[in-house]
Subunit: 204 residues, 2 copies
DNA sequence: GCGGAAGAATGAACGTTGTTCAAGATAGAA
DNA sequence: TTCTATCTTGAACAACGTTCATTCTTCCGC
């Protein structure tokens, strides 16, 4: 190997994250095993801890990737629609919510691990991870500023959070399937109803 | 000991469930350790598995209790209000949502374990656990039948699920506090806005 | 080129888990 | 009391994340 070490470590980190992503996509976060990953990328068990502090960091890195792809999906959904009138804003919010649903369904295990991350009680999540999350809220916040321009900004942010959370809840329960399976189109309809109703409720 | 065996096992199961509940309430599901529990109720490690099949069953039993108490909380909130007019129905839905929020906040770790249960992929959850969940939905469904009596029943059930899920999402994200802490009163206001808006959207 | 220091790779070993099981203790019927 | 069925026990096992002394590589100043 004649690649410089720092480059090599970069490559190893990428390979490790790839392997972790693959494992999670196949079997959820429960199948993120140190020994499996080490053999996946052809290193010894202990070598993992030269690349990454612990498995939590690895899960966080995979989550960051997932959030990135989710952000792109929401951006794509947003950019496909005009944003001029208030009606546009509502339509865009519906489109974002639908894109969220489809991303979650299409990346079920990776999407779920976004919320299964349990950082050790005291420790806050790294800044770059927090940024990823805030970026998502902005997708919702942007149409809201058009929809209710008179509302003060803190309230707008809060409303964006609430709307996001509500849709997230519907998607979560809808994709659970533990109790009853809801058809995708029914889920879409429910989301649309709720988003439109919430928007009408915002204008008072 | 002169108590009949079956009685004794019953008592052991109760003591074990108590201990598990206490442990979870203190440190979340991550602190449900076989050895701790065995010593809590004064039996040998292996003895646990004469009382309970595995720790998952124990977590499920604790969850069942929690669901029971949650159901009582929602019932109390419901019964405090009249249910005659459509306005009553909306008020009741708001009250239920608020009661849900307060229960979650007041029983944070126990409430969270309700959704952290990961049954082994294939296995469905026991019937008695499914019943507990359906009973919850009925709290929401009942006012809905008054609010939109013309809607067919399947649609009503779906709407109840959606409304529940939306509120659940808001509560979940609101109590997360990982990103930003939302004051409880702000959370209440957000929930009320969303529930009222959703109800108005239902009547179309 | 080269020799030594700094760092990385290795896999055995540790500590903690949940779960099992052969052996011993105990309860209830005869 | 005695016998059998059952429960209880804690040592043992397997799987896990993580650490560490040892060995090998790589890099830099000469």
């Amino acid at each position: 190997m004649n690649a410089p070490l720092s480059e090599r470590r970069q490559a190893q980190l990428a390979a490790l994250t790839d392997a972790a992503e693959r494992r999670i996509a196949e079997g959820g976060m429960a199948s993120l095993k140190a020994r499996d990953l080490a053999s996946d990328i052809g290193i010894a068990l202990g070598g993992l801890y030269n690349i990454v502090a612990d498995l939590d960091e690895l899960a966080l890195r995979v989550s960051s990737r997932t959030l990135g792809r989710l952000g792109e999906a929401l951006t794509a959904a947003s950019d496909a629609l005009p944003l001029e009138s208030k009606a546009d804003a509502v339509n865009r919010l519906v489109a974002i919510a639908h894109a969220y649903l489809h991303f979650a369904k299409g990346n079920l295990r990776l999407w779920r691990t976004l919320f299964e991350l349990r950082l050790a009680e005291g420790t806050a999540l790294p800044a770059w991870a927090a940024d990823d999350q805030l970026r998502l809220f902005r997708h919702v916040a942007e149409p809201l500023t058009l929809l209710v321009p008179d509302m003060d900004e803190a309230q707008q942010t809060l409303a964006a959070r609430t709307l996001f959370a509500a849709v997230h809840g519907i998607v979560t329960l809808g994709l659970e399937e533990r109790l009853v399976a809801v058809p995708l189109t029914a889920l879409e309809a429910q989301i649309e109803w709720l988003v439109r109703a919430a928007c009408r409720g915002l204008g008072e």
